[in-house]
């Protein structure tokens, strides 16, 4: 069932890519709800799906969080499929009940799933129908987090892309503004805002906003930085609204963060000397924090199983700033345009893989015996049992890891499993 093709590099600098089509061991896009529902504080995510979807959300969440959720599942039942009940009427009933229970909800996402896609339940029509009923109190949007179309973090991309058409148009002649795109922990977002203010960039918006009413205006004078490498559709939607993408390394580590901030500074014509002055303390702090982990990580081999699409930027950071040796960098999807700077900064000859055939990939990991494997929760303990130290990749999506002041924490996430292995005498 597996098809493996080695792409010819399109440019001399692009590393070879092993493309695989076999069993994928990854989450679907619904999983993004786990962090998105905390990020947008007055939004609610209603998955229209099966018991499996509900079980996924609670299992993925149950391992990690223990709080009142702002998400739920409208579980499709036999009578909806058999035509005994009109699925649209049922959905309206569920939404009415939900909004009556949670009147503080300002933004409701109807989230499509594998079954809702396969039975072609039109959630975009349902969203407009329901919005007509519940406006202006609640805005209702839709996107698909289905596993037949999205992998893990692509769910966030679909969610943010769905927000873009609702963003107000920036008035013509509005001063240039900067938008940070991608859900970041609040503390990191605040740090970036302070840095941009210090640089002298006045108008900074974020997508997603913390409150639904704070959707940023967008227009031809909007410049945006992607904080995450998995936001292809969102970037395209923003470009459709006239905004301009500022390509850069992603803000991981000293060099990634500097390059990312510099892209904005250059777009806003900030004096390079001023830029250097503003970022110097952050660079120093980050370099100092990272250096503590260098002894543990330098020269160690690392193998990435595909998961969040963060794999390429993280491999770049670990190779460039900590001296790690990436032996395979797997990613569910390789966005060649957004990763062009990252790919160029990877060590020559780094093996990339796109897609997955998990059994064959496990064979390769066993053969390489990397010092550290970065993988999903389903694979971690089985790899540990084989004597391969692992790092759960999901933690990289759930922890503050961007920017100067988290660079040391990011390095520590990779050093910790190795430290632990050395500590344990059992």
């Amino acid at each position: 069932m597996s098809v493996a093709v080695v792409d010819r590099p399109v440019a001399a600098s692009l590393p070879p890519v092993l493309r695989e089509r076999g069993q994928r061991e990854v989450f679907c896009g619904l999983t993004g709800i786990i962090w998105l529902h905390r990020k947008i504080q007055d939004a609610f995510f209603l998955v229209v799906g099966s018991r499996t979807c509900a079980h996924l959300l609670q299992s993925a969440a149950g391992v990690m969080v223990f709080a009142e959720p702002r998400f739920a599942t409208a579980i499709i039942e036999e009578r909806d499929l058999a035509g005994l009940a009109d699925a649209n009427e049922e959905l309206d009933r569920v939404v009415d009940r939900l909004l009556a229970r949670r009147p503080e909800i300002k933004l409701l996402f109807l989230v499509g799933s594998c079954p809702s896609e396969v039975i072609k339940l039109d959630l975009s029509r349902a969203a407009s129908r329901l919005e007509a009923k519940h406006a202006p109190r609640t805005r209702i949007l839709n996107y698909s987090g289905s596993g037949i179309e999205t992998t893990f973090t692509q769910g966030e991309d679909a969610c943010l892309a769905a927000l873009v058409p609702s963003m107000p148009a920036a008035p013509a002649g509005a001063p240039a503004s900067l938008m940070i795109v991608g859900a970041l922990p609040d503390v990191v977002e605040d740090q970036f805002r302070r840095t941009f203010a210090d640089l002298g960039i006045p108008a900074v918006f974020t997508l997603p906003p913390r409150r639904a009413a704070d959707l940023a205006p967008v227009g031809p004078n909007t410049r945006f930085l992607l904080a995450q490498p998995f936001l292809g559709d969102t970037a395209a939607a923003l470009e459709d609204r006239g905004a301009t993408h500022l390509p850069a390394l992603f803000p991981f580590g000293v060099e990634g963060t500097t390059a990312w901030l510099r892209a904005a500074a250059a777009a806003f014509k900030i004096d390079p000397a001023h830029f250097d002055r503003v970022v110097a303390p952050g660079r120093e702090r980050a370099a100092r924090a990272i250096s503590r982990h260098r002894a543990v990580l330098t020269g160690k081999t690392i193998f990435f199983f595909p998961d969040s699409q963060l794999e390429v930027p993280l491999a770049r950071f670990l190779a460039q700033e900590l001296g790690m040796v990436p032996v395979e960098v797997g990613t569910p999807y390789l966005h060649r345009a957004h990763l062009v700077h990252e790919l160029a900064a990877l060590p020559t000859g780094t093996q990339l893989s796109e897609g997955q055939d998990v059994d064959r990939q496990l064979d390769r990991a066993r053969a390489y015996r990397p010092d550290l494997a970065v993988c999903g929760l389903g694979l971690a303990n089985p790899l540990e049992k084989l004597g391969i130290t692992t790092k759960w990749s999901i933690e990289l999506v759930f922890s503050p890891v961007h920017g100067f002041d988290q660079a040391g924490d990011l390095a520590e996430l990779f050093a910790r499993p190795l430290n632990r292995r050395d500590r344990l005498a059992v």
Binding site: A72, L377, P382
Partner: protein, 515 residues
């Protein structure tokens, strides 16, 4: 459509995974999109298994739909057979694949593999996890049990019993099987096959050789045990040996089926529960109000322990699996409570809030609820959490299991004298009921979150005002009975046409409703 916040059971194919993962030599090919692979983490993370579940997912994508999903499934079956060399294979579809109707059975048959290939038809939009596990186990046994097995007479040999129902990801299944195997050994009964957990397809072939079948977990084992009873004439042991009394009953039931004498074993059992419950320091447990919710078998068994062996008052009893609702209804009659049969988490939360229990015995879901309501809670049933797989030996069945239940249920409670001190000095700023039990480090915790149930309660009469003194006095009543005291007092006042509730009304109502 059903609005669901948390769900008690996964889809039926997760039940099938629990069976396949518990067994050896079985591989399950599941026609499913990539997101369904999350189910692996249930086993590798929650249960801390050190190997991947024996499951291959086809992980079809949108672009495969309508073109070659059938071919994808067929090649997945072929590849899985070659790579894993199982002795038997299960094939089936998850919810999404069920909709595209690729006929896993026909496709698998066409491959003509040299092993039994069992098709699982598990309707995802009607059924749930436990049913899926029961049906999968039954399908395996129907296919693999050797019906030509004949067992010899009991005379002159040790009797043999099968243990049916334990699976991967089961609540304490690992330790229950050890404990019950030990007990059977003391009774002079050998264990033939433990299944699904630990069994190979070859083990299932010899199920018919045992003298009886012990249904440890009816949720997964009952269907199979009934078929075995019909096919091999093996009696079913139906008492779930959870708690001291049930373990004694179980021992006698097994002994009767196997022709051995249970009384010496029962007399010599090492359980501390009877004495611990009778010792005077346990007096404070008397009539503690307990709300019980879980799968039907665990809930019913827990209710008996709570009532007969701990001296609690059962104020609520429910289960989430309708398949066993009848057993639960019968038990609810025994305790004079309304049975709660629902898989709606919000309905369970409402029922718990309304019952004002002092202890909740439930699942991981009820831990959420009890935490919100600030009621002590112990877990007695799946769905499970990583904490329900303790490193130590911790069965809930058999005589040692009774000890574990005593400890586990008493631990979250405020104990003995501390409870009296809390009642005596209610205004103490750092030692009060809102701060929680001191041995649990609950100091400084927030007040319970109110669940809006009073509005539906006809006993609540909003118009009657409370005087400030009466309101203050009400605050001195322990929080778990405060709601009830308020409702009783208001009802008392309304019946007498009083305009306001003062201190006298409060104490008049108290004496009126005194038991």
């Amino acid at each position: 459509m059903q609005l669901t916040v948390w769900t008690y059971e996964g889809p039926p194919h997760v039940g099938a995974m629990r069976v396949a993962t518990g067994m050896t030599g079985v591989h399950y090919v599941l026609h499913a999109p990539q997101g369904d692979t999350y189910a692996d983490l249930l086993f590798t993370m929650i249960e801390r298994r050190d190997a991947r579940p024996p499951v291959t997912y086809t992980t079809f994508q949108a672009r495969d739909l309508g073109t070659d999903t059938a071919e994808l499934l067929q090649s997945a079956i072929r590849d899985a057979y070659e790579r894993f060399q199982p002795a038997a294979m299960l094939v089936g579809a998850s919810c999404t694949a069920e909709l595209i109707q690729d006929d896993p059975a026909g496709l698998a048959k066409a491959l003509d593999l040299p092993i039994p290939v069992i098709n699982l038809d598990l309707p995802s939009y009607q059924r749930k996890e436990n049913w899926g596990a029961a049906e999968t186990f039954y399908a395996l046994v129907r296919t693999l049990a050797d019906t030509s097995v004949v067992r010899g007479p009991l005379a002159g040999r040790r009797p043999v019993a099968n243990l049916l129902g334990p699976t991967a990801l089961g609540f304490r299944h690992r330790d229950d099987v050890v404990e019950i195997t030990k007990l059977l050994g003391q009774l002079g009964v050998d264990v033939g096959v433990v299944a699904p957990m630990g069994a190979s397809p070859a083990d299932l072939a010899r199920l018919g050789a045992a003298d009886c079948n012990i249904v440890l977990y009816p949720e997964t084992g009952d269907t199979t045990a009934r078929w075995l009873e019909k096919t091999f004439g093996q009696p079913m042991i139906k008492t779930v040996p959870m708690g001291y009394g049930a373990t004694c009953d179980f021992s006698r039931e097994v002994a009767a089926a196997c022709g051995v004498d249970p009384e010496p074993v029962i007399a010599a059992n090492g359980s501390r529960l009877p004495w611990y419950s009778r010792s005077v320091d346990s007096t404070y447990l008397t009539a503690k109000r307990v709300f019980i919710f879980g799968d039907a078998s665990h809930a019913v068994a827990a209710a008996r322990v709570a009532s007969e062996e701990m001296g609690f008052e059962v104020v609520g009893l429910g289960c989430y699996n309708r398949e066993f609702a009848r057993d639960l209804r019968d038990a609810a009659k025994l305790y004079g409570v309304e049975p709660l049969i629902t898989d709606d988490y919000l309905a369970v939360e409402e029922a718990i809030a309304a019952a004002h229990p002092e202890l909740v015995l439930g699942t991981q879901m009820e831990r959420h609820i009890a935490k919100r309501l600030r009621i002590p809670c112990a877990v007695i049933s799946a769905p499970v959490h990583v904490q329900d797989f303790p490193a130590r030996y911790s069965p809930v069945m058999g005589f040692e299991g009774a000890n574990v239940l005593f400890d586990t249920w008493v631990h979250p409670l405020v104990m003995g004298l501390e409870e009296h001190l809390l009642t005596m000095f209610r205004d103490d700023f750092e030692f009060n009921d809102a701060a929680g039990a001191s041995h649990l480090g609950g100091h400084g915790a927030a007040e319970a979150i109110a669940v809006p149930v009073a509005a539906n309660d006809p006993a609540t009469v909003d118009e009657i005002a409370w005087t400030p003194a009466a309101t203050k006095e009400l605050g001195k009543i322990p929080f778990f009975v405060r709601g009830k005291a308020r409702r009783n007092t208001e009802k008392f006042a309304a019946e007498r046409g009083l305009a306001a509730i003062d201190l006298d009304t409060l104490y008049d109502a108290k004496s009126h409703y005194a038991r």
